[in-house]
Subunit: 346 residues, 4 copies
């Protein structure tokens, strides 16, 4: 069955897998101290335009969010996130497991609105009893968001400015960063993101790797003895090479960006197909995730040929479903979707 | 440089890597719900001789220990371990991070002595104030131990019996289980281990995989909603296939056992070389890790040609070092070690 | 200065203090095993109409919420609370510190609306991906709420029914329970509350004690080895008598209810004074906390003679303030307030 | 029955209780911001000879240990303690509950030996793999120890020096500090202890208060936003006056020291009685706890008239029991013990 279920349905991009094969028998030291990790870090530093940035590799997104947030927050602090943010709802309480509260803000289009954030911080510190409440100690946002949407340069700049005013680090979850960077609607480059954020991660799992996320600390702010804190959270891989080799491949010959570009191209064509069939979009997503409203019987019929994700019900007879593209999406897949949609609407 | 530094210096065994390549483009659902995970679980159930066993895959050893221990202990309980146990000293406090105490017992040859355990439990429950102390809620042991040693069938049976008497589950850390099973000195089979333990894991990272450990719950005792608890700890891989495909390969055509056998054969030859050069062993290890006492200057000289691990200092002029074999160890490696030892002693 | 700042501005009710003095020199065993704890528990069991209820004393409200919630939730569960609930916002993240998420529901008048709860639970379990989210494992509500409001018998019955349907315990925070029970607008008795809840606590700190809250487990559901879990959280008092003697006094000759009645009577008179001065109430509170909107300059003037609590700003020129009554509030206090209000409005 | 069971068998010293009564009806702000807390802090600053010391009141000993240790350690650190230290064994895992490991050292007479500590730290940092182990981040010692013994000035100075060399704070648990300060065998004054430690606490619960411990941060090192961290741990009392008034009384007219002196005088007389009856001491304790070895049948007979604590069994026919004196111990109590011992030996 042709699948648009997610951007992690396939294994690694062939260029990534090839490098894993080519380096497989080299004896290498463990825990991230091998030369491929070093090389990958150097390439990432170049790509983000920060020769002094500190880079660290972890295995998955929820793990990365929990490690970054819990090692950067002070004891009395929590992290601000949109109510629809991944850390707020879809990580089974992974942040709370580290002993820290997620301070949820209302969202618009999956995003934190700069003014909402500013008002929240102003009101918090104006409250005479605020010491009885969790201190806001970090702002978390995802880019693209869980709804495929993107922050504009103006929005990210505003949020970054507010964070600096309050002395609060800004953390950007880039689990799907490759698709943001190559979106036709973005005005944010990777170096700009690095400049505006205190810490962010470049997602590998959903952008061509078997697993792996690259955290970038941009202001000399990697927590002290980070290896020990990572190990303490069960997040230190013995064969660190698995992450180093993959990110080294992703940042060789712009593979990471090429994967992003391909998925965006496929997503744009997918949008054309959806439009051609007259189906309504749930929202306007300029990235690789497309949310479409289907009538339930049509959804069932389509499901016979095409895999996609359930998102949420809009009413008793309609459902939002998600179609995602990735490195492995092909023109044939799109053709199959087009035909299946035709059949499902017949 | 030829390396005996650890059993995780190389990538995956070629048969494992081949399967990753062969399955790479198949679209598969995430989070461990793919058919390779299912197939691997089924093969493991057969290998352990328990059609009803529950199997779960995680990424690394410290993560597995923390997840198993923290989800199986009650709030008021801690885990008993040898003072030299991995959870006691070499996991940066990963168990304590989950809110649970490690109750350390004295060790002999890296092992918990059955009588020591029995006395500890008896004394604990005899103490009138024991409710002010952490309840012993699990026994953790590693097999092979951190010193390469093995529990005999009699020892494991005694410990298992004591655990049952006190209603405490027995957890066996099998990060290097393959080398225990194929040791020439063991009298314990995989089904016997499964029978005697409530939960154990079959290590992949150190036995031919890129990463991965297979937890086996033997008594219908997998914690409820385990996926959610795993996710909450940041330990759920999106591309669960990475673990499923690898373990499926490891348990196809007895690969896991063949890897163990090869490493043991290499270790026995390595021991012969050590003996030939008249060097003292730190202890008697029947598995793939060999601990040898070197004079410091000799150690430095050897280090120019051969990679090995620092273990501990015995006095100001001598050091215990570790040589480990694995799937990638070759006869050429051994020859290089032999020659380098000759030079270092000259 | 006359104070309506809170219901914990004074020490203990004289009858409570007298009992502490009378029993002061008796040698008693520690940790809650003294006869006064036993006697207090027995009197509470009678007052709640449950001979089999289990009772436990702790020191303060946030501590009690954290202990009850964290010992009753399963690993993968969180607690549902109103967005304005004490555990959601005013405990500095005490619940998250125990590793559990607070699942916030929108509120009406400080309360969870039964239909909102029902819909939340229905939607949660209908979501195909709910295992990636925190399970709802308990419902927390406060009675009176943080806004002085009360659940009606019909509302509490509906919520209790929904909880039973989903197998989720209902926990009622009764930090100010005495004022709910004696409110002129309540239709809920203490035995009815005990019947409808799985666990609740009878607040002492804010109802006449120096400190202390009495948890009541109503369904034989006190967590196993609770003493050990309490000690593990640093919440076990050595001189448990301090809590036992106080609650024994509070439940002798209906003192707890007399305190409630007195504070309610004072609150009703206070409301009359507020009305007489033509000041608007922020909400309708039938208990001992009254929320009044003051013009800022008036607020400042009033503050010269009377202590009250800042609550929140409504706009740039108005503020909500709280007046609270308690066991120590006198007619003279009310007269002073009346006069000061007159002056402040002049 | 006459009781030597512990130093927390009675309520508060009459002078403490009197002050609670005298101040009972004053309206005071909550959470430790009342003038009695301020006055008590000022008196403590004077008593410890440090005008700049920061003082904070908590309710009990285990709570205080958990709060101090968990707010002062970095994420990757644990606390060093003697194997017999209160935090190691008798707090039900309260330190581990905060996510931190207790690094246990062998003890002598209940104390950490300065040389043992120095060697431990030296070895730790010499280990090439120490980043995989919990960093030692604090030294905890109790004074008097759990065995009633005391550190000498020379010992505490040595330990303090080692701590400074390694940049590790020294924390002294003074749950029974009053008995150390007034011991006839001590050469350490309160200002000297303050000078040598980074943080310590002056125990109230076991030295004349109903509850309460006063933490003293001696080097401007109180953790930032400590109130919030205390609240987050459920350890913030609403009626902070309960602690403030008691410590104000304890540090008025040297009451704290007078209580210590009285208990020591009673303990010395108790020792004479034990000696007179020819009973062996388990160890040499110069403070208010005396450990005596009794033959089991004698122990049972004695237990008919006198309450004492079970400590541990030495063999099948002998048991170590503890007799403790406190503010409420009288000459009559001692006479009763003398007579009961006579009868039990008959």
């Amino acid at each position: 069955m042709v699948s648009f279920e997610s951007d992690y349905i396939a294994g690694a991009h062939p260029e990534v897998l090839r490098r894993l094969m080519e380096t497989n028998t080299e004896p290498l030291p463990g825990y991230g101290s091998d030369p491929y990790c070093e090389s990958a870090k150097e390439k990432i530093r170049k790509a983000v335009g920060m020769p002094e940035a500190e880079v660290w590799f972890l295995t998955g997104g929820t793990q990365t969010n929990a490690v970054v947030i819990s090692t950067m927050l002070a004891d009395y602090e929590g992290v601000i996130a949109a109510k629809t943010g991944h850390v707020s709802t879809h990580e089974a309480g992974a942040i709370e497991y580290t002993g820290h509260e997620v301070l949820e803000l209302p969202q618009a289009d999956g995003k934190i609105v700069p003014e909402t954030l500013e008002k929240y911080l102003k009101d918090y510190f104006a409250d005479e009893n605020h010491e009885h409440m969790t201190f806001p100690g970090m702002v978390y946002l995802s880019h693209p968001t869980e709804y495929g949407t993107l922050y504009s340069k103006a929005e990210l700049t505003d949020i970054s400015k507010t964070c600096r005013e309050y002395g609060i680090p800004l953390f950007l979850d880039g689990a799907r960063l490759g698709y943001a960077l190559e979106s036709r609607k973005t005005d944010l480059t990777l170096p700009e993101i690095a400049e505006l954020c205190n810490v962010f991660y470049i997602g590998g799992t959903k952008v061509g790797a078997l697993c792996g996320e690259a955290i970038v600390f941009t202001k000399g702010n990697m927590p002290k003895h980070f290896l020990t804190s990572v190990k303490k959270r069960g997040a230190l891989l013995a064969k660190g090479r698995l992450l180093g080799v993959q990110f080294d491949a992703l940042f060789t010959d712009e593979l990471y960006f090429r994967i992003g570009r391909h998925a965006i191209e496929m997503a744009e064509k997918l949008k054309d197909i959806i439009r051609k069939h007259g189906l309504p979009f749930y929202n306007q997503s300029p990235t690789n995730q497309q949310f479409v409203i289907l009538e339930n019987r049509q959804m069932e019929k389509l499901g016979e040929d095409i895999a996609f994700s359930f998102w949420e019900k809009t009413d008793d007879t309609h459902t939002v479903v998600r179609f995602a593209t990735g490195w492995s999406t092909t023109e044939e897949d799109l053709k199959a979707l087009d035909e299946a949609l035709g059949r499902s609407l017949a």
